[in-house]
């Protein structure tokens, strides 16, 4: 094997009841336990102030946990400072050293860890090649575009073959078109090298696109963990349903649960849904806007309810409707852009078969 080729030393990350408090007042991360497998790309997703960046920085060793244990590759690193952890990070601002050339930037960590100059340069050039910036080594960071700087930052972190690679909102300084490109590049490298990557973002679309699993955080705690599909299709709470994509939250009543299937009354019709551990009583149902079907006609069939178009907005690839129904105003989208109902038109509202889902948390 080529000596300079990067090898994977990916390791798992585990939090055991980790908290981070500042002073006595502020709790940034509250009793969080999580497990990230080796070779997995996990996203920490949440609104600003939810504790996702603090969690990431605790993995890096830039913040020290106030309580709990942090393990990387099964080893307790709770007390280790960043310098001594085998973790590298790609910063939101890239944090390329402006007084060093691209090559010197990429060599920096290699030399800090005691590699010879020659070996460092060889490895760094391989790293630059890997991210497609061969021949840019003698430039200064200021002479590169934002996307190129970003890739240098990735190379700088990659060449150390870290046990865990961290990304702190890596795309937020790039323009929209470049984002998709860089996002795919990161995912591609991660899968090729089988890296353990922890990725912080507040952009749900970005999270859905790159992740093996997503950890949604809210108010310093974990709201839900799951694959992108699980989170989108089976949100556990109103918060997750609303934060990832858009959702209509509708009051419902569970009349009966049999064999894990709940009979749910929503407005004037009855649905059979996965009970998700709930028992009879008041509940809430989430329905994605694209899972609501609008039809013309007025015959009652027990599977639909009557509605009146409140507002219709044409946004190019779809039409967005607000519909007044007996269960409140629903937001739905239709990709059938050829036909558009006008305000006050009477419609029938029906849920797609896999549309409605009971929320585990009643609150």
């Amino acid at each position: 094997m080529n000596q300079s080729e990067l090898q994977t030393r990916a390791a798992s990350v585990e939090f055991r009841s980790v908290s981070k408090r500042y002073g006595t007042e502020v709790t940034a991360v509250d009793n969080v336990s999580l497990h990230i497998e080796a070779g997995e790309l996990v996203t920490l997703l949440g609104p600003s102030g939810c504790g996702k960046t603090t969690t990431l920085r605790m993995i890096a060793g830039l913040e020290m946990a106030s309580a709990g244990q942090i393990l990387i590759g099964g080893r307790d690193v709770t007390q280790l400072p960043a310098t001594d952890r085998d973790v590298s990070m790609v910063f939101q601002s890239y944090a390329l050293f402006p007084h060093m050339t691209v090559l010197e930037n990429v060599c920096y960590g290699l030399q800090a860890s005691g590699k010879s100059k020659k070996a460092s340069v060889e490895r760094a050039e391989y790293g630059l090649d890997l991210i497609g910036l061969k021949g840019y080594g003698s430039r200064l960071p200021s002479e590169l575009s934002g996307g190129q700087q970003q890739r240098v930052a990735v190379a700088r972190a990659l060449v150390l073959e870290p046990q865990v690679l961290l990304f702190d909102e890596p795309l937020s300084n790039l323009d929209a078109k470049l984002r998709r490109q860089v996002r795919d590049d990161i995912r591609e490298i991660q899968q090729r090298l089988q890296l353990t990557v922890v990725y912080v973002t507040h952009d749900q679309e970005e999270a859905l696109a790159v992740s093996d699993r997503i950890i949604v955080m809210k108010n310093a705690m974990i709201a839900q963990v799951g694959t992108p599909r699980e989170l989108y299709e089976q949100p556990a709470s109103e918060f997750v349903a609303d934060f990832i994509g858009e959702a209509n939250i509708i009051d419902a009543e569970i009349s009966d649960v049999t064999d894990g299937v709940a009979t749910v009354h929503v407005g004037n019709f009855i649905l059979s849904l996965d009970a998700r551990g709930l028992s009879a009583g008041r509940a809430k149902v989430a329905v994605r806007p694209n899972r609501i079907i609008l039809q013309s006609g007025d015959e009652a069939d027990g599977r639909s309810m009557p509605g009146v178009i409140d507002k219709a907005t044409y946004v190019g690839d779809r039409i967005e409707y607000k519909v007044r129904t007996g269960s409140g105003v629903l937001f739905c989208t239709s990709e059938a852009t050829d036909h558009q109902w006008q305000g006050d038109a009477e419609v029938r509202v029906r849920f797609d078969d896999n549309g409605p889902v009971l929320l585990e948390n009643r609150a």
Binding site: G61, D76, L80, P81, L96, F97, G109, A112, S113
Partner: protein, 742 residues
């Protein structure tokens, strides 16, 4: 406990640090001369007799000859860490390091303070141990190296306990700064307090202190009731309040003209702010004498026109006031231009779109927003005036102020150190109160409204009813300032001011003549000696000031630790300690072993380092705050230690700030007078004290010629610096100059 590879790694790092300091301590104990060398290190006279001559011998050689046996126990804490070097991850390692460091430091200083040039310093020790029959002088290089070793044993031990993530460099830096601030700021002040508490026989007595403190000469109110002078404290206070208010007002006028008048050359006004940096503090006083003194041009002219007898009216309160206003207005300007510019134009534009007139906007939006800045400028002017030594010395007449009284208490016939200490305490009380007020009361209340996000729009112009008075005052003051500085240049070429106005190079020839003799160039002029000493001392102090300032700034901006507020307060404190107080306290503290520094060049260097430290710190903070913190973090996550990060990332990026701190402390060391005048010696005479000596002999021509040369030297330094680093980067560090006291 789980021992991981990373533990071992940080363990070896601690081990290497300990080994390094052990070697340094070893050199201090076995190689370097233990006691202070009378002729200085670089005379190399000590090589004659080294290592056996007891004056030059290292501690180990002293002991082997049966001398200074009390130094023998120091070997124990020095070598103690050797026992645990192989067991670095154990708790014993850190414990032993802490014990070795702390006990070593304690014993080293305890023996130093106990045994002086007359044997035991305290009577009870002589009684207890019997007469020593031996004595010792101040710490030399050996002792200094060994104390550094003990200090870093201690900090490394604390770091190994996990303090600040077990970061050896950061804990060491904190320990180092605390140690030097304690020794060179707090210890002298404490010595001064204790000497104020003692009577002339050295016995502590509160009643003596109270009687000295409440003396009529300090607090008397004779000027109100009878036709006598008031106490010096009141004089100083009165002067400082007037000067503070006047400079604030003038500074505001200039700031408004520069930013809000549409005056196109407003930026030229900023050049004014360089003046106080390059002007030795008493030079303005000299120019005032040339203009308004008994034989001054204006006095003579007015007397001629009005047919009056010329008087000495300018000596005393009026003279000091004018001189201080000239000296300190640029400082207030510098503060207020930042404040006035800091008011976001969009605030004023918002006000105007709400149908407010310009005057109404100024009254209700602009002025309230700059009010805290005004208070800040006032307090700075107050402190500057209180601490000013040069101008009152030259112009004081019968109007005594604290700073000069302190000087005369020490230097004059009275030579009463106790009285000087009491006066210094009174002065310190005033400046510390103002300093405290400035920090606690104003420090947090900043209305600077700039957000950093492209705040479009330009500043609204001033309403006419303010604009014209501002123009008038500013013009008059600029003309006055220009006149004063022209007098300084012109005065150096005049035979004898007031009597014989023929132009001559005489003064320059006396001071700076250069000739040739058989050895080559021969610096014949009388001033060359002090000029070169000044350059040398200033050049030595500059890098140290920059280093101490930047390390402190790094700790304050980038690190979190307990007691950081106190740390900051301690490092900024020397800003509020007037130079005369520093001078007195240094004389009291460093005249006797173990820290015997008076008469050396080192004490001058040290006084400059600590007097200018706040400037270095502020310049460092200003430029470090602009460095994205993620640069440090990136370096750390790439596996570099904090020390490597500091060296490879922070220092290179701070190059402009470092250069600024270097030039600035160099220039300030050249203009300093207040502390210097207490600390100069025949061997180390500084330019400023030489000039003051000429002034006291009424040799105004020479004094002025020399001052002119100094001003141009410093101007050259600054201009070179500007060319080197570029305009934008320098404006900020130099803006920090306002934090200093004359």
């Amino acid at each position: 406990m789980l021992v991981t590879s990373a533990d071992v790694q940080s363990g070896t790092r601690a081990g290497r640090v300990v080994m390094l300091w052990l070697l340094i301590g070893f050199a201090g104990y076995f190689l370097a001369p233990w006691y202070i060398l009378e002729d200085g290190f670089f005379s190399f006279e000590w090589l004659d007799g080294y290592p056996f001559d007891t004056d030059y011998a290292p501690a180990a050689f002293l002991i082997s000859q049966g001398e200074k046996i009390w130094l023998a126990p120091l070997i124990l804490p020095l070598l103690l860490p050797l026992f645990v070097l192989k067991r670095q991850s154990s708790r014993l390692f850190s414990t032993l390091l802490i014990v070795a460091g702390a006990s070593g430091l304690f014993y080293l200083f305890a023996q130093g303070f106990s045994i002086g040039i007359r044997g035991f310093n305290a009577q009870w020790m002589a009684t207890l141990f019997g007469d020593l029959g031996d004595r010792q002088f101040g710490f030399g290089y050996g002792a200094v190296l060994l104390s550094a070793t003990f200090l870093f044993y201690l900090t490394t031990g604390i770091a190994s306990r996990g303090y600040i993530n077990g970061d050896i460099f950061v804990v060491g830096a904190i320990g180092f700064i605390i140690a030097i601030v304690a020794i060179f700021i707090f210890f002298p002040i404490a010595q001064m307090l204790s000497s104020a508490l003692r009577d002339n026989d050295g016995v502590y007595s509160v009643s003596v202190f109270i009687s000295k403190f409440s003396e009529n000469k300090i607090w008397g109110l004779g000027c109100l009731t009878e036709n006598r002078g008031c106490g010096v404290a009141w004089n100083s206070l009165f002067l400082a309040v007037i000067v503070g208010a006047a400079t604030t007002l003038l500074g505001l006028v200039f700031a408004l003209v520069a930013t809000r008048s549409g005056f196109r050359y407003g930026n030229w006004l900023r050049a004014l702010t360089v003046l106080p940096i390059i002007t030795p503090p008493f030079v303005i006083g000299l120019a005032i004498i040339l203009l308004f003194g008994l034989s001054g041009s204006v006095t003579q002219w007015v007397a001629g026109v009005l047919d009056l007898q010329p008087t000495r009216w300018v000596y005393g309160l009026p003279g000091i006031m004018i001189a201080q206003m000239l000296s300190f207005t640029p400082i207030a300007f510098l503060v207020l231009i930042g404040v006035v510019e800091g008011v976001s134009p969009s605030m004023e534009e918002a006000s105007q779109t709400l149908r407010a007139s310009r005057w109404y906007t100024f009254k209700t939006v602009t002025f309230p927003l700059i009010r805290p800045g005004l208070a800040n400028a006032f307090l700075l002017g107050f402190i500057e005036s209180m601490a000013d030594f040069g101008n009152p010395l030259v112009l004081g007449g019968n109007y005594d102020v604290l700073s000069t009284e302190i000087f005369f208490a020490i230097v004059g016939a009275q030579n009463d150190q106790g009285r000087a200490a009491v006066l210094a305490i009174v002065l310190l009380m005033f400046t510390l109160t103002a300093f405290y007020a400035q920090r606690r009361w104003l420090g947090r209340k900043s209305y600077i409204t700039k957000t950093g996000k492209g705040d479009g729009g330009s500043h609204t112009l001033m309403p006419k009813r303010i604009l014209w008075p501002c123009y008038t005052i500013a013009t008059v003051w600029v003309v006055f300032t220009v006149t004063v500085y022209s007098m300084i240049i012109y005065g150096g070429f005049v035979e004898t001011w007031g009597l014989n106005h023929t132009l001559t190079f005489k003064h320059y020839i006396t001071t700076f003549a250069v000739g040739y003799n058989e050895f080559g160039i021969h610096f014949k002029g009388a001033a060359w000696d002090s000029f070169f000493t000044t350059l040398k001392i200033a050049a030595a102090a500059a890098p140290l000031t920059a280093m101490v300032g930047l390390i402190t700034a790094y700790l304050l901006v980038r690190q979190q630790f307990h007691g950081k507020n106190w740390f900051e307060f301690g490092t900024m404190l020397s800003f509020a300690i007037p130079g005369t107080v520093v001078g007195v306290s240094y004389i009291l503290a460093f005249n006797v072993p173990p820290l015997e520094l008076t008469g050396t060049g080192i004490i001058l260097i040290i006084s400059f380092v600590f007097r200018n430290m706040p400037v270095g710190v502020r310049a460092g903070i200003a430029s470090m705050s602009q460095l994205d913190k993620s640069l440090d973090e990136a370096s750390l996550t790439l596996g570099a230690s904090t020390w490597r990060t500091f060296r490879k990332v922070i220092l290179p990026l701070m190059r402009p700030a470092i250069l600024a701190a270097l030039v600035f402390s160099f220039v300030r060391a050249m203009t300093a007078i207040s502390a210097v005048i207490f600390l100069v010696s025949a061997e180390y005479n500084m330019a400023t004290s030489y000039i003051i000596g000429r002034v006291e002999n009424n040799d105004y021509g020479i004094a002025i010629a020399y001052s002119t040369v100094l001003i141009f030297t410093m101007l050259t330094a600054i201009v070179l610096f500007q060319l080197l680093v570029g305009r934008n980067q320098t404006s900020r560090p130099f803006a920090q100059s306002r934090t200093n006291v004359g």
